[in-house]
Symmetry: D2
Subunit: 429 residues, 4 copies
């Protein structure tokens, strides 16, 4: 390692908080990236099957977004505009309406929140509470919605909940679809809410991800999603779908719920909405629930203008017609096939997720970590998810070429084989 | 207005949430900006005395930051890197250590939180609670710390608190320095905490801004800040200074508390820390309180790499020596002088704040709004703050030239004169 | 009605709070009572199948308790002794140890709380939280534990929860045994608690009634109670059985859980523990969880000395040998038989509860209210319970003679027949 | 000590919870009491200057109440009647209206809560929240309102708050009258509530004792009480006066606030309201705030019929004319004079409280405990209060004869002298 790289690394040890995370298992110093590949300071390249946790659905540094952004900056475009009107925001909104909302018959308003998914979730929960005059939000096992206090209450993960140092409130937890053998959680929720002594306060909202990204790629069935939507309607609760990780094409359609026959009252978006990996988040809310007064929920960075520029390009480039969506369907099949091969190497393993958001539950968190570590050594950036980190999760850029996909899958297969061989060797000793 | 501008405007009415705010009183469609000037789609230019609520302390599109950012993007630098090591992050940390932390004898670790001030405050409160095993955070009248549930509990503003639709918890409110005639709130806090029946639970932290930006430019005296630091130490609470608006040179020094003889356990930063107006936030925490495990507080955008690039340039350009800080001292005097002239036009008006974060309390929120509206019409972007929005607040870029300052002040004087004339006319009728 | 009775009644209308309740459907002015009979000011007598909601398990004015109490008062015995040692308290404790605790192998300490069931529940929850350092208490659908804020959080009933005017916190609700078709709630609870992302905070306690008195006489199976005890143990939670209504012989044994093979960490008692209907409550707690410091949970009336006198007599009279318990077994059979007859009159009706705590679920709250109103008119005091008040509940004194039981049952049968006839007439019209 | 007394004592050690308290410093086994004297099992008598913490304002076993109670029991009067109408309750209400409410022009309704002061406070807080639709209750330093979760939130004492094992919520603490040098807490409260960014949520109620019984006999001035009543009215909050300890003549009038020119919206009563030391509590509430539905706040023992019998006698005997109140005025003067003598023995000591609720702040909790221990050894039951237990508090029965008062004072003087001598000896060594 060259001397200045060592120095650079030292600065992280010396000054960066212990909260840093991904860099621990993937310690390279990354310097550039393009499409589905990352390059580190030593010139080594990596295939990226993590994609910024689904924040880079169109890959790194898409040339069209890049060109538009450079042009915008060069021309002294507004970099920071609070929530003033800018041409960049106007153009994004127009494209979002034309190519996303209007074709799907959605009359939602767009609220630009602070540019993090957690902030969008906080805003969504606040809107639901303000709109209904109720407090309780129903959330689900293994749901992940962020770690600020409001959103954290809705997050199932105990490690993150523990970080708060205090009890969160205002949320009732229910089992997610398929969570508990034989439990129809939509029916159970309906029963408890219908019962005057069910002990669950009338809900402001029901909040969930259609595919639980951090929770282990648990995909809700369309039937369950529809049943939950019915429960929400019946009990006067808003239906909030958190599409932060599963949205923007990840499951094969722009929204993860498009083909389920439900219209959420609120949708939260972040991660890939800017297209370029820039911080941006938004809340879609039906007009009748657009109840905040001016700046009632505010935040200095609630309009990241650079992100509007790239987000507009992304929408115009990928969602103006059906071509991209058709490619996604093909790639999802390819992904399923490849992951079945991986799963075949691990007794008991099973596929999770749907669309371009699939993975393999290898039962053991230690095994999943071993597979990912070996993959990293071979040049593949890939991560785990799940309540025991037992799911090897593929979140490749949606734009990944078939060839790169194949290279990545081969590394994953090799890594899995090696990990299993290591296990068997250990077991035999 | 050209036709396409009307169309652009329509999209905001049609699709942007009612939560939009600044654009209501300043409805121009902004298209570019440089230094202390904004330009709208009709080619009109405005002097900017708002500076993105102090997020643009170095003005718009600083040429050096801009050049570095364009170069970085052009070279396919990492745009989104989760919390992986990147050269951009390393270089920022090195510069921040060398020019900011080390010269001030600060051993703090840097935690990159989700890129909003609220997220930094949430992290700070969580750290204090986890580190102390206590829940209660002491916050103050007119403090503003963000609108996500954890931070909102610490925010005094009732309008924003109401947006939550539920009670916030975990915070005890005390009067800020000088809030109540004859009340020494540091002494009162000490008395109540020392009293076994004082009824205030042992605090995890005491949290405040040295100058309350949204709360009306209330500047705490160094004596009070030291007294509060003593109270925190005596009662085992962490001292958290929220320097999100007052930091990064706004009060005349990099940190707002530099010359007060206190070392906060935690400092929260956001707004101008990126230098360019890009979303970025961080928490400085003393090593003994750097208690989060890996990703225990996480967030997809917790490393905005573009912001690291501009933040590094900002630090190297403005804080490598004392030249900039000396200029700030001169400009602060100039600001005080000009604002005294404004205050002289309004009977009973008084100056608020310190450094480059000053304003005039004109007693009436309606008058302050009138002054700002007239100033806007004359080409000056300026806003109010305070519990009744009664303070006309100057948050000009710190880099504003004397000439531009003078032009802005003249507009402000004219606007104030006109507003007072309008008032007198009304009164005479 | 004699004139002075009218006047007496006026005072209730004029001055008693609208919160008054039983007197609305049973408006007689009661003046005396003995055994299982009440007498009103007009000399009318009523058979009592309510028994002060199971607070008069030995009937009204038991002659032995009465004699002892009159003797005690006459001799200037201590009426109010805070928690000082009194001979009355000592004698109660000795009898309770000798005849109740020791024979059942229970090493529990006795804590005298404020003399209400709710206060005992509050103390129990506090003990569990203090002892474990955790907050969360698991409670169940249709559980009823009182209406003070701590206990109310554990109470499922939405009408009572609404009375708080604020959200209760610190409790997670789960389905009770048999609540939801096909849901094994002990297994579901175990799964959610075992799952690091199950989203239920580690519990301080699991709290329930073995037969839900207010909730509709839902009787938990011994298997479920044992499974819950296992879950509590596995997850470090205290097992709290609320025996306030089901205890003191009501289910056929002194404690309702005696024959289930579990030893609760904490038992709450009130209602019939004084034997005479006097306010008295206590918490039984295993020595290792007897963690309160002196007066840490206190209350002026935490030793009701008059109640100690009668409670001692009750224990010595009824629990010194097995005779009473054997009678209860016979009476329970008689009760079941009689209620089957009642149930036979109402299509779809089913028996609920066990021991001397049984009733008939007549499906409709309106029908149950009609039956009870008609019974009252015929001289039987009886009430409903259940989430829809659909269960006609028999809580006769345990000492009720077979003859009085039979008279009461006959009234109940008549009332049910009349109510059904009324319904059929209505339906036919 | 006779053998059976030792055995009796053993039962307390063996089986009573560690939460027991008064019996630790006053370990006698009490067996009877009359007027202002207690007698223990060894025949020793004690003057009672504690009076069940003001629950025995008419002394022990008042002969008239005793006779009425024995007669009632003997005649098989209702002992337990839920909230059914009974002749005993009707007669109490009539007497309470005639002699207490009507002469004072109070139109309040009477709500019988569970028979503990804490339960009355819980009910009062719930009423205020339900009636106003707000959550926040303002309470004060050193206030004591009980230890169930709702009431505990309003209690300042940290030891008791700690017993909850979780954070209480819904209450904002303010300094009591005279608490902090130079702080006008009514004005401060008004300022913070009037300020849109004061950070105190709009209050449902303001709750306090006019003399803080447990908090150290801090007596609020009539001016402050009126100012607080104004603040409550101005901000739409209910005024709740907790008269549990200070009421029923303790301060010289039936209610402690009678001569202050305020009409509380809600008054809580317990302790001496039964007259005989029997558990009884009630809430007085103005008709417009009598908002509970039937049984919305309930409790099995919410009508303690025995207590109604004695309470009626107490009111008719002591409050039918002004004679008793005039005696109280004389006794208060006597008490002040005597306590001045005590205070004269301790440098820096000062008198606290008013009426028959006075004490001496001897500055040190250790000294106060020493004085009380020595007094107990000499045959006087007396206790401390205050945040450091530094106040020797006299709560003698109001009916105590001048002679018994004098005997008690002499013991107290001797005990104080001895304690001071002991201190001086220690200091001299």
């Amino acid at each position: 390692m060259p001397k200045d790289m060592t120095e650079t690394r030292d600065i992280f040890d010396r000054r960066e908080s212990a909260a840093r995370s991904y860099c621990r298992s993937m310690p390279a110093l990354f310097t550039s990236a393009r499409g589905s590949e990352l390059t580190d300071a030593e010139g080594r390249s990596y295939i990226d099957f993590l994609a910024g946790c689904s924040s880079l659905n169109y890959g790194h540094n898409d040339p069209d977004m890049k060109a538009a952004l450079v042009e915008y900056i060069t021309a002294d475009g507004i970099a920071h505009g609070l929530d003033l009107h800018t041409d960049a925001k106007g153009a994004f909104l127009a494209a979002f309406e034309r190519h996303i909302l209007a074709p799907r018959g959605m009359d939602h308003r767009v609220m630009f929140t602070g540019p993090t998914g957690a902030n969008a979730v906080e805003a969504a929960m606040k809107i639901a509470r303000k709109s209904t005059g109720r407090t309780n939000v129903i959330a689900f096992t293994n749901g992940f919605h962020g770690v600020t206090m409001g959103a954290l209450a809705a997050t199932g993960n105990g490690y993150h909940r523990g970080g708060a140092g205090m009890d969160a409130s205002g949320v009732t937890r229910m089992p997610f679809d398929g969570y508990a053998e034989g439990v129809d959680s939509a029916a159970l929720l309906d029963q408890m809410l219908s019962d005057p002594s069910g002990g669950i306060d009338a809900p402001a909202a029901i909040l969930f991800e259609t595919v639980q990204g951090e929770g282990g790629l648990n995909a809700a069935s369309p039937d369950w999603v529809r049943a939950i939507a019915e429960v929400a309607k019946k009990h006067g609760a808003l239906l909030i779908i958190d599409d932060i990780q599963a949205g923007v094409g990840r499951t094969g359609t722009f929204f993860s719920f498009e083909e389920m026959g439900v219209t959420p009252d609120i949708v939260t978006m972040a991660k890939s909405v800017s297209g370029f990996g820039l911080p941006m988040a938004l809340v879609l809310v039906r007009p009748e629930h657009d109840v905040f007064g001016p700046a009632e929920h505010n935040g200095t960075f609630r309009g990241n203008t650079h992100a509007f520029v790239t987000a507009r390009v992304a929408i115009e480039k990928f969602w103006a017609d059906n071509a991209f969506q058709r490619q996604l369907a093909d790639k999802a099949v390819m992904l399923t096939t490849a992951l079945q091969e991986v799963a075949g190497l691990v007794p008991g393993a099973q596929l999770k997720g749907r669309g371009l958001m699939q993975g393999v539950d290898v039962i053991s968190g230690a095994l999943a970590a071993d597979i990912c570590a070996r993959a990293y050594d071979k040049g593949l950036v890939i991560e785990t998810s799940g309540n025991e980190d037992q799911v090897v999760k593929v979140l490749a850029p949606l734009t990944t070429s078939a060839e790169t996909f194949r290279k990545g899958f081969n590394i994953l297969l090799d890594a899995t084989r090696d990990a299993m061989a290591g296990r068997n060797t250990l077991a035999a000793e």
